[in-house]
Structure formats: structure tokens, C-alpha cells
């Protein structure tokens, strides 16, 4: 038998071992003493088999896998003899490496007994177990607050508010509805609207006057109004006691009249709307009416007690203001011309203007007041003394500059003298001051220029210039400098393209600042007509 041969070898070795017992090889002898040993040569085999607990030892067949595993675990357990934890590691590693030849793997016999079961503990399971164990010890906190937070958030999301904090109320009763069948027509907002043609953006305002006329002997008196431009394009200027007419179209000059008395002087001039008659106010308290075409004086109306420094026409009614502070209405058609007296000022009336629609008369005086008077009620019994609508006292200086806005009804602009220097815009219906602007200079005249929606002001002390302001923003557009002395009067040409100014330096300067080319002018007229429709469809 091969095994016996082998055993015999072993036996021989045994024998050697037993012989070397004395040398202190304990292992074998201890083993020996443990196991029942029938045959010496089978001793080792018996050992193995007893460990394996096999019914019958399979003599020389290789060990079954499970046997091998069982034996290897037991041997390794015997090998280390350390703590169970370590032994498992060792067993794991050893079980992973299957032993090929049982003989070679089993050189060292197992230490432990065969009847002990050592479980294989998977490392992972240990980790899991550890985790579970430690987890149970964690305090169960923060769940309560978390849920409260989330609850609050849910409540806000669902209800729109935190139920705990607020409640919603509404006023009971049927909610009010619009009348039946009402449908809002906001849809109109998005309908096509013809865009108005854009105005010329680039506009050149020349810093120099287009023309300078000589005005010798001009009276340098702030309170007089010695310049007017007729609708027939004739410029009238009063030089001391003479009235000269300059035809702007042809350029020729005509001496219309001259006062008889050398000491008297002309205080004011005003053309009628048609431009065929000129009213002249004099220092001898009279108002003369001249027919320009025939160069004849039609009337000389006496009613004032002091010089007539301001005049304004309203169809057939001529209003005159004098140094006495009184304003007289004259109906020039009838013999008894003086039909009404307006006593509102305590000092010289230097500014007088009827509104374009003839409903209001604005007067400004040296007493810093701006007064508003209604249209003349002719034929009424109480017409002798006019009734004042309202007066404004905001100006701190003499108000000579007055102008009505031609494109916006009920807008009056007034300018104050040296101590005031402000332009004020008034709404005569409500009586409120819409805006006020400090111009830093005495204002002697104001005119609205409709071509570009501007307001033009003439200044005396200290700038002696003409300023163009954008209306209604009142931002400065341009300054026209050139006069060497205070500008006394400012007047707009009938075609609205030029302003003429007369100053204490005895010159009349013509500034062509509001020119519009004909194409744009036509477009503007078209816009004015279609503006009615646009306004209706605009955003509310």
C-alpha cells in the first residue's frame, strides 16, 4: 500500500521525532498523548480523521472541499490561538485561498478540538451591525422642529399665508359689479395709430440777428411798449414822438405820424388784428387811432388822467392802461368810446394782454400784481366798473411781460422786473401757478413761439439778452446775445419765424430763430388735425 509506504516513512520520521523527543519537540508528543493511537504509522492520519469526524476515512483520496475548508479553519484557528476577531480574519484569508494539495496544507496539525464551531463572519455584516448598533443610540431630536418648519411652509404654500399668524377678512355683502353689458374697451389700446410725422430734429438757431435796424431817439423807459408787428408784416416803432413803419416784406420805411408837441412822447403802440389800424398811446393821456393805409388819424380818445403806457385789442374793444393804475375799455365804433374802467392796480399798468379767445384780459403793473379781468359785457348796466376775477401777487417786481399761450387755452405766462426775475406760468381757470423759473435777469417781455412750442423772454438788467425756453419744461434752448443795453420789447412776426427786439442801445434786431421748412410745416398742420383722434385712443 502506498499509504503504508508513506506511513512507514512517516513512522520513520516519527521514530526520529520520538527519538528526538528529548530535544524538546513538544508538538508531536502532545498530539500523541491526545489521540487514541492504534497504529503508529497511521498516527498522523488518525489525527486528521478524528478532527474531520469522518465516518470512514478515505484512505488516500484527496480531501473533499468541505473537509479541506473545515480542516483549514480549524488548523488556522489552532495556528493563531488569538482572539476570535483576529481568527476570523485569518480564516477569511485562508478560506479564500483554497489549498490545492491537502497534504501540503496540512503540515501543521490543528490546535483546537474538532467539536468547536467557529462561524464565518462576513466583514460587511460586521460593519452593518456596528452601524445599526450605534444608530440606535443617537437621540431622536430635530424631527419635531423639522416637521414644524415644513408644516409652516406647506401652510403658506397652500393657503398663501401662515394660518397660525393671520386670518383673511373681506367686507361682506355682494361684491359690486359694473353695470350689465359693460365691457371694457381697453382693446383699443393696441389698434393702429397713425404716427405723426416727426419734426425736424436738427434746427439751427443763429446766434446773430438776421437784421439790425437803427432806432435813434428811442426812449429808454422800461414801462413803455414801443414795438408792434402787424399781421400785414409791418413793424411799427415809436421813436420819441414819432411813429415809423417798416415794411418787412419790401423793406421800406414810412413815417406815420409825429406828435405836435415836442415834450410829449409816444408811450405805446398796438396794431389791430387785421393790421389796418394802429392805436397809439401818448404821454398826454390820449389814445389815438390811425388808419395806416390812408395815413390818417381817425380818432383821438381822451379818458385817462396819466400817460397811456399799454394797449391791447380785443376785436373792436381797445383796452388801455395808464400810469394812474386804471385800465379803460374803449369801443372804437361809438362816439362814447369809454365804456368801462378797471381799477385794480395802484401803480402804472405796464403790461396788458387779451387772451387769444378774448375771454380774459391780463394786466400787470408796477405794483407787482397780475390781474385777471373778464370779457367786456357790453350794454349791461353794471359795466362802468369791471369786475376783477383774480389777482396774483407772487411777483416781487413790476410785471410788464405777459403772454398767453396760443396752443393751450387758459395758460398765461408772466415775467417780473429787476427785483423778481421770475417767469411764472398760470392756469387761469384754477388760478394756480403751474411752474416758476428764475431767469437771473429783469424780464421785460414774453412771447410764445408756436413753431417749436417755446417761450421767448427778453431781458434787461443784467444779461440784456433774449432767451428761448422749451415749453412746458422750461429748459433753456438758446440765448440770443447782441444787445448792448437792456432789451425793452420783444415781438413775434406774423409768420412766427422771427422775433424782433428793441433795446436801450437804440437798435432793433430781428432774430430768425423759429424757421420751419414748408414741408415740415404742412406735416405739423396735419398732425394738429389728427391729434383729436389720437388722444381718444391713447393709454388712459
Amino acid at each position: 500500500m502506498a499509504s503504508s509506504a508513506r506511513n512507514s516513512n512517516f513512522a520513520e520520521r516519527r521514530g526520529k521525532a520520538s527519538r528526538s523527543f528529548k530535544r524538546g519537540v513538544h508538538v508531536f508528543t502532545r498530539r500523541r498523548s491526545w489521540f487514541v493511537n492504534k497504529m503508529a504509522q497511521f498516527g498522523f492520519e488518525n489525527d486528521i480523521h478524528s478532527i474531520l469526524k469522518l465516518d470512514m476515512p478515505i484512505t488516500n483520496a484527496p480531501m473533499a472541499r468541505w473537509q479541506r475548508k473545515a480542516s483549514s479553519s480549524s488548523t488556522s484557528a489552532g495556528l493563531s490561538g488569538l482572539s476570535p476577531g483576529n481568527s476570523t480574519n485569518v480564516s477569511l484569508s485562508s478560506s479564500k485561498t483554497p489549498t490545492r494539495t491537502p497534504g501540503k496544507g496540512k503540515k501543521t496539525p490543528s490546535k483546537m478540538g474538532g467539536d468547536r464551531f467557529i462561524p464565518i463572519r462576513n466583514n460587511k455584516q460586521m460593519d452593518v451591525a456596528n452601524f445599526l448598533l450605534t444608530k440606535e443610540n443617537e437621540p431622536v431630536d430635530a424631527t419635531n422642529t423639522v416637521s414644524a418648519e415644513s408644516q409652516k411652509v406647506w401652510s403658506v404654500t397652500l393657503n398663501g399665508y401662515n394660518i397660525e399668524d393671520a386670518k383673511i377678512l373681506h367686507l361682506g355683502g355682494k361684491p359690486l359689479n359694473a353695470p350689465e353689458g359693460y365691457q371694457n374697451n381697453l382693446k383699443v389700446l393696441y389698434s393702429q395709430v397713425t404716427t405723426p410725422a416727426s419734426l425736424k430734429k436738427t434746427r439751427y438757431i443763429s446766434p446773430t440777428p438776421e437784421r439790425i435796424l437803427d432806432a435813434p431817439d428811442l426812449r429808454n423807459d422800461f414801462y413803455l411798449n414801443l414795438l408792434d408787428w402787424s399781421s400785414q408784416n409791418v413793424l411799427a416803432v415809436a421813436l420819441h414822438n414819432s411813429v415809423y413803419l417798416w415794411n418787412a416784406t419790401q423793406g421800406d420805411i414810412l413815417l406815420l405820424m409825429k406828435l405836435e408837441n415836442e415834450e410829449d412822447y409816444i408811450c405805446s403802440l398796438s396794431w389791430t388784428k387785421e393790421g389796418s389800424y394802429l392805436a397809439v398811446g401818448t404821454s398826454d393821456c390820449k389814445v389815438q387811432l390811425w388808419d395806416v393805409e390812408n395815413q390818417k388819424r381817425l380818432r383821438s380818445m381822451a379818458s385817462h388822467t396819466a400817460r397811456v403806457g399799454s394797449l391791447s385789442w380785443n376785436d373792436h374793444i381797445l383796452s388801455s392802461g395808464s400810469r394812474s393804475g386804471h385800465i379803460h375799455h374803449h369801443d372804437v365804433r361809438v362816439a362814447n368810446h369809454h365804456i368801462a374802467t378797471l381799477a385794480g392796480h395802484s401803480q402804472e399798468v405796464c403790461g396788458l394782454r387779451w387772451s387769444p379767445d378774448g375771454r380774459y384780459l391780463a394786466s400787470g403793473g408796477n405794483d407787482n400784481l397780475v390781474c385777471l379781468w373778464p370779457r367786456v359785457q357790453e350794454g349791461s348796466s353794471g359795466g362802468r366798473f369791471g369786475r376783477l376775477i383774480r389777482s396774483w401777487s407772487e411777483h416781487q417786481g413790476a410785471v410788464k411781460a405777459l403772454a398767453w399761450c396760443p396752443w393751450q387755452t387758459n395758460i398765461l405766462a408772466s415775467g417780473g422786473g429787476t427785483s423778481d426775475r421770475h417767469i411764472r406760468i398760470w392756469n387761469v381757470n384754477t388760478g394756480s401757478c403751474i411752474s416758476s423759473l428764475d431767469t437771473q435777469s429783469q424780464i421785460s417781455s414774453l412771447v410764445f413761439a408756436p413753431n417749436y412750442n417755446e417761450l421767448v423772454s427778453a431781458h434787461g438788467y443784467a444779461h440784456n439778452n433774449v432767451v428761448i425756453w422749451k415749453y412746458p419744461s422750461l429748459t433753456k434752448v438758446a440765448e440770443l446775445n447782441g444787445h448792448e443795453s437792456r432789451v425793452l420789447n420783444l415781438i413775434l412776426s406774423p409768420d412766427n419765424s422771427t422775433v424782433a427786439t428793441v433795446a436801450g442801445d437804440e437798435t432793433i434786431r430781428l432774430w430768425k430763430s423759429f424757421e420751419m421748412d414748408p414741408a415740415k410745416k404742412k406735416a405739423k398742420e396735419r398732425v394738429v388735425q389728427s391729434a383729436g383722434g389720437v388722444i381718444r385712443n391713447s393709454i388712459r
Binding site: 393657503n159 398663501g160 399665508y161 397660525e164 399668524d165 393671520a166 386670518k167 383673511i168 377678512l169 373681506h170 367686507l171 361682506g172 355683502g173 361684491p175 359690486l176 359689479n177 359694473a178 353695470p179 359693460y182 365691457q183 371694457n184 374697451n185 381697453l186 382693446k187 389700446l189 393709454i539 388712459r540
Partner: protein, 202 residues
């Protein structure tokens, strides 16, 4: 109303905010076309012209709400004011204007007026109302006849006055929200925003 004192008191602040709501609600009703424009007239306030209704019943209703609001503002118990616009037939909420009110409760204890110029407050209010007007450009058209309702968010423990009932928040589902400007009187702070139903057309 113009306060002659330099500062703003709690009472004055409540009045300012209530006035703002009165004009603001009127403006919204006019701008969104809930009521015919002929029933509105112009009033001048905050240096601008505003639309207010002339319809007697509506005026009465608004006066009631605003006066109650003023009380609540004075007591610092109101948190929000919401104007809800619903479709008349389907009762679906189409638009929701929400004004959040934050009240500085410390003003209740001290009666000293706060330093904030009336002009600044009016300027802020003016810009909010202008913004409300401007929202017309992007809010979707209200094509169907609409009804409106006013909701007030108050503190939970408030005593409900008679004629007032509890209500739901009337939220719009699928809404677009736009935050508008806010103004503060240094005692009350009002934030505004509008939410409208998202329209299908992009």
C-alpha cells in the same frame, strides 16, 4: 391733508397709507376697466391727477373698507391688503394685487413723530401709483366682465367687526408675479405686487 408738523406720527402714517390705498384701488379699477371710465372723475393728489369713482355704491363700499383699514393700520394689526379681480361668470381669479404692510410696532408705544418729510413719502407714493398705471402695458387684457373683491389679512386674534367675514386667499394657479415699488412712511412700509394668470400665448 398736509401735516404741519415736521415728522410723521402713527396716526398720520395710518392716514397716509389709507389714502394711498383709496387712490390706488380707484386707479386699479379705472386702469383695468372693471368699471366704465365714464364713471370716474379726476382728482388732484400727490401732485398728479388721479381717477376716482363717482358711483355712489362703490364709493360707499370703498369708504367703509378704507376707514376700517385706517383703524387697523393705527393698531398695527393689518398685514396685507389684496385686491382680487375675478371673472364674473366663471368666478376664476384673473388678477391679484397684493400690498404687504409692515408696521413698526414700536411706534405705538412712543408718540414722538418720526423724521421723514412728507414730500419724500408723497414722491414715493407717486412713483408707486405711476407704476400701477404703467402695468397696463404688460398685464393681459381682461376680456370678460369682471368683479373685484378686497381682502384684508389681519392678526389672528383680531375681533372681526360686523359686516366683515372670513374668506380664503383666492390665489391664482399658474400665476406670473411682478413686484412693484414699495414706499415707507418710517412707521408703515407697504410693498406692492401684482399676480396675473399666465396666458397661453407666449
Amino acid at each position: 391733508m398736509t401735516s404741519t408738523l415736521k415728522g410723521v406720527t402713527l396716526k398720520g402714517s395710518a392716514e397716509l397709507v389709507a389714502d394711498f390705498f383709496s387712490f390706488g384701488i380707484n386707479s386699479i379699477l379705472y386702469q383695468r376697466g372693471i368699471y366704465p371710465p365714464e364713471t370716474f372723475t379726476k382728482a388732484s393728489h400727490y401732485d398728479m391727477s388721479l381717477h376716482i369713482t363717482t358711483d355712489a355704491k362703490l364709493k360707499n363700499y370703498l369708504t367703509n373698507v378704507v376707514s376700517q383699514l385706517k383703524e387697523w393700520l393705527f393698531e398695527c394689526t393689518v398685514q396685507k391688503l389684496v385686491l382680487v379681480i375675478t371673472c364674473l361668470e366663471t368666478n376664476e381669479v384673473l388678477e391679484r394685487w397684493q400690498f404687504d404692510i409692515e408696521c413698526d410696532k414700536s411706534a405705538k408705544e412712543s408718540s414722538a413723530p418720526r423724521e421723514k418729510s412728507l414730500k419724500t413719502i408723497q414722491d414715493e407714493i407717486r412713483s408707486v401709483i405711476r407704476q400701477i398705471t404703467a402695468t397696463v402695458t404688460f398685464l393681459p387684457l381682461l376680456e370678460t366682465p369682471c368683479a373685484f373683491d378686497l381682502l384684508v389679512y389681519t392678526d389672528k386674534d383680531l375681533v372681526v367687526p360686523e359686516k366683515w367675514e372670513e374668506s380664503g386667499p383666492q390665489i391664482i394657479d399658474q400665476s406670473e408675479e411682478v413686484r412693484l415699488r414699495s414706499f415707507t412712511t418710517s412707521i408703515h412700509k407697504v410693498d406692492s405686487m401684482v399676480a396675473y394668470k399666465r396666458t397661453n400665448s407666449v
